[in-house]
């Protein structure tokens, strides 16, 4: 599986750079060490929790290489809800090696509903958003999702205090603030990690 995944990624990187030459630098950035560090942190903590999930919502997973890999052992199915149509296609390309358990759709869950076909894949038991700094506080989306599935799945959320980027519209100063913004009352894990590029990441896992 590891060899298959790596072969798929190398092939996908070449393919996507050919199809989307204007995104070549973004593709490179998406595979940098700091992105790997942030996502593998989730894998490590999910291992510690020892839980397994039927069906997962990924919010704004972008190209979703490391993230879908990190979640793969812990969920039977996952859907990456992305606003960017190119990111939807690219994330599918990179995840062909696990296409039976990964899909991606262009939807903004802040104003749109979950996909019916995704819901048929099993009970939603996990929500993952590693880009909370790019969007409205997660309390809103959690409430919207609850209204659709009448359940409160476990949440894995990441954000940062790095506010020098124009699209970081919702930075937080601590994991506690991230939890508070998301309405997480029962946190199984809260932590901070300084990534290879110096960016501080906060992570909260809880309900």
């Amino acid at each position: 599986m590891e060899a298959e995944r790596l072969a798929c990624w190398f092939n996908s990187l070449a393919l996507c750079k050919e199809r989307y030459p204007f995104l070549a630098d973004r593709l490179d950035v998406s595979l940098t060490l700091q992105h790997a560090e942030g996502k593998l942190w989730i894998k490590e903590k999910l291992y510690d929790l020892g839980m397994h999930f039927d069906n997962t919502i990924i919010i704004g997973g972008w190209y979703c290489q490391y993230l879908a890999y990190a979640l793969s052992d812990y969920t039977d199915y996952m859907c990456n809800y992305e606003i960017d149509p190119d990111a939807v296609k690219i994330s599918k390309t990179f995840n062909r090696y696990q296409k039976e358990k990964f899909t991606s759709l262009q939807k903004d869950l802040g104003i749109q509903d979950l996909d019916g076909n995704h819901l048929k894949q099993g009970d939603i038991e996990l929500i993952v958003n590693t880009s909370c700094e790019h969007m409205y506080p997660m309390k809103h989306m959690r409430r919207k999702i609850f209204e659709q599935i009448m359940d409160t799945p476990l949440c894995v959320l990441q954000s940062t205090d790095e506010d020098k980027y124009e699209d970081h519209i919702n930075c937080v100063q601590s994991p506690e603030e991230l939890a508070e913004q998301a309405g997480i009352n029962n946190a199984y894990y809260m932590g901070t990690k300084v990534l290879n590029n110096g960016m501080k990441r906060f992570m909260v896992i809880g309900r």
Binding site: F22, L23, E82, D84, P85, A87, I111, H134, D167, I169
Partner: protein, 240 residues
Amino acid sequence: MKNILCVKWGDKYSTEYVEKLKQQIEKHCSYDFNFYCLTDKPEKEYDLRLPQSWDKYFIPNRFWAYRKLYMFNETLFSNMQGEEFLFFDLDVVFHNSIDYFFELEMNKPWIVRGWWNDLEHCKRNYNKGISPLINSSVIRWNKGQLKNIYHHVNDNAEYIFFTYKTIDNYFNRVWYDIENDESKKFNLFEKNKIYSWYKGNIFPEDMEKRVLRKDHIVCLFNNNTIEDDKAIEEVWKQNV
């Protein structure tokens, strides 16, 4: 009856802009029309007061020009009768007849697609919420056709005001499909009708900036440098 609208709030534009727009419309529209300015400071007979119900959601530097979206709910303005609506930003100049806008097939409303934009640049910036292809400087709709946009904003106001930098970004993401010009909510005005003073006309072949293209209908001065203010005044002198 045809209704031609503009929206003015705050101090960015003086009432002179409204007057010049009205004069240009009188010169370049052969149909009978009503002219209205939706404004926070009604003074003239054509002024209609803007609602304030969304002001509480406003965050500085986000969802710029949200007040334009009130006009999509025509029932908020009881004086505004008729079925056909045409909106212009205040900083526009007409070179030719604007009758074109009332002769379009109205199966869907119409909006500006900035043909001067580099599509790849817009796609690169798509998830950053900048560089929209859609431009709301000119909009043509029939009564009720855009009411669902008003309601969408009204129903999701906190989220939308937080998320989008401008209403053009909102249109671009929610009501337009960057992969397919033909789909979704709007028809797009064809090339060589509307161009941008400070960006050009059509990417990449006709991108000369700050020149007048007098065979087009509308020039958008959608920037606010002092040089552009001088340029629009110069064109007014020739045009009005």
